[in-house]
Symmetry: C2
């Protein structure tokens, strides 16, 4: 495994590290960041999936998560949100498609199908990096917005891979909102049955139910909540199909990292509880 350390910064007695490696699935170099607490027996990991426009840097710089992991045996790993260093058609034209907007799916459209394989990149390659390079046993997954969508979809479809699933402000029903429709048209050609396999609400309807409870935090002053995130669609479907789900609606909070930094401690505690079971 050819994983290069780009830089290291000592943080809360552990290390914040930026990595780069050649991905089998995206056929590009991929970047990720991680925080490794000082513990000599790190045995579990939380995957953080970021939202639109983000890189591997945003969360690890802004969320303050290191403080809550410092005395644990759990690391956090934050992949980039798309392949980089490519020039595919329309790839760099908008913030919500192409670079910075991989939507954690396997693309099938021409050009994109060669590289935008983020679902496999996370569920196969990043998982094997965690197991083989970081020697981690158990993994949980969370994320924000587009990354919350990724965490829910991966957590529902790959139940056995993840000890627990949570999300901040996730896009819960992307076949039903503009962000999702645009992405699915660009990456899959149309909003088809395949698209529904990347839609948490649709996955619940298809019977992808987890035995454990999913945790979501959603700000009520989030500008994207009414039209793009559609949290209540997931909540009502979860009730119908019997998926245990706890949504904390947070008055006055918006879509920003200030919101994430406020509630990341509770998500980290939630995951560590499951990882240590």
């Amino acid at each position: 495994m050819n994983i290069e350390i780009v830089k290291k910064n000592k943080t809360f007695d552990g290390e914040t590290i930026f990595y780069r490696h050649q991905s089998t699935f995206t056929k590009t170099p991929m970047n990720f960041s991680a925080f490794l607490p000082a513990s000599k027996k790190i045995d579990s990991a939380i995957i953080w999936l970021s939202g639109l426009t983000c890189t591997e840097e945003n969360f690890i710089v802004k969320a303050g998560a290191q403080n809550y992991l410092k005395n644990t045996n759990t690391m956090i790993i934050c992949p980039d949100t798309s392949p980089r260093e490519l020039s595919l058609p329309e790839e760099h034209d908008s913030y919500d498609f192409g670079s910075g907007a991989g939507f954690y799916l396997n693309a099938t459209t021409e050009g994109y199908s060669d590289h935008y394989q983020m679902y496999d990149y996370i569920s196969i390659e990043l998982i094997s990096i965690l197991k083989d390079y970081f020697k981690v046993d158990k993994v949980s997954i969370t994320g924000h917005s587009m990354g919350g969508h990724g965490a829910l979809v991966l957590g529902l479809r790959e139940k056995d891979l993840f000890a627990s699933v949570s999300a901040f402000s996730p896009i819960v029903n992307p076949t039903n909102c503009e962000w999702g429709k645009k992405a699915f048209k660009g990456y899959l050609g149309t909003v088809n049955e395949e698209a529904k396999r990347y839609d948490a609400t649709e996955l619940l309807k298809q019977g992808h139910i987890r035995g454990d409870s999913i945790l979501i935090d959603q700000g009520l002053d989030d500008e994207f909540y009414p039209d793009q995130l559609l949290t209540q669609k997931l909540e009502s479907t979860a009730k119908e199909v019997g998926q245990d789900l706890k949504v904390n609606y947070r008055e006055g909070y918006d879509h920003s990292y200030f919101f994430i930094s406020t509630f990341i401690e509770s998500h980290i505690r939630f995951h560590i509880e499951h990882l240590n079971k």
Copy 2:
């Protein structure tokens, strides 16, 4: 007082707010950020002065300070590091002079003397904003690198304005390092007696001694420590002149915000203890 709120983000039950106002001293619009905890009786403030290249945004986004202020009556306020929206000679040519590099002094060179009045901006205008707009009684000051220099200089020269003084990785003897010499030449024409009034080590020699203890944290893997920061110059001078000073040398830590985020809690506790005396 014409202070405009640019944006607000609810954070840890309080508010992270970005402000803009027309400054009397810089004769430009100036930006600052602040975190106001949820308390209804905020009565004290910490001023954070940022380092080279920073704006009012870096600290409030990256340091995680809100978490440690959330249950207190103390706000934090973070001014920009220089005037903006000007085109003075060489102002935008390098990272360590001009925009983003105001050095918290009153410039006397042509062009700069009209706007780069950061010492007065902080010690007069920002203080009166704190007292009149935010209705705060007591103020402490801290900062990083160039901002650590600013905090030490302001804290030594304006003893009665500040309840306590601390710094992260400060430039403690700028008349003796390249960053400082370049700034003093550009802003004051030469490294003269006036420059020594913006040099913490020189101020100690001149008899500017505080009755309370100054707190400094310095990473030992900080690339700027040996040639630019010169922490030990301040430490030995403080011993000679009887200034109480505690320097925590931190093994493995560098000059980054990861370092600041690790130790900001201890600085906040230090200031709050003095502010509540």
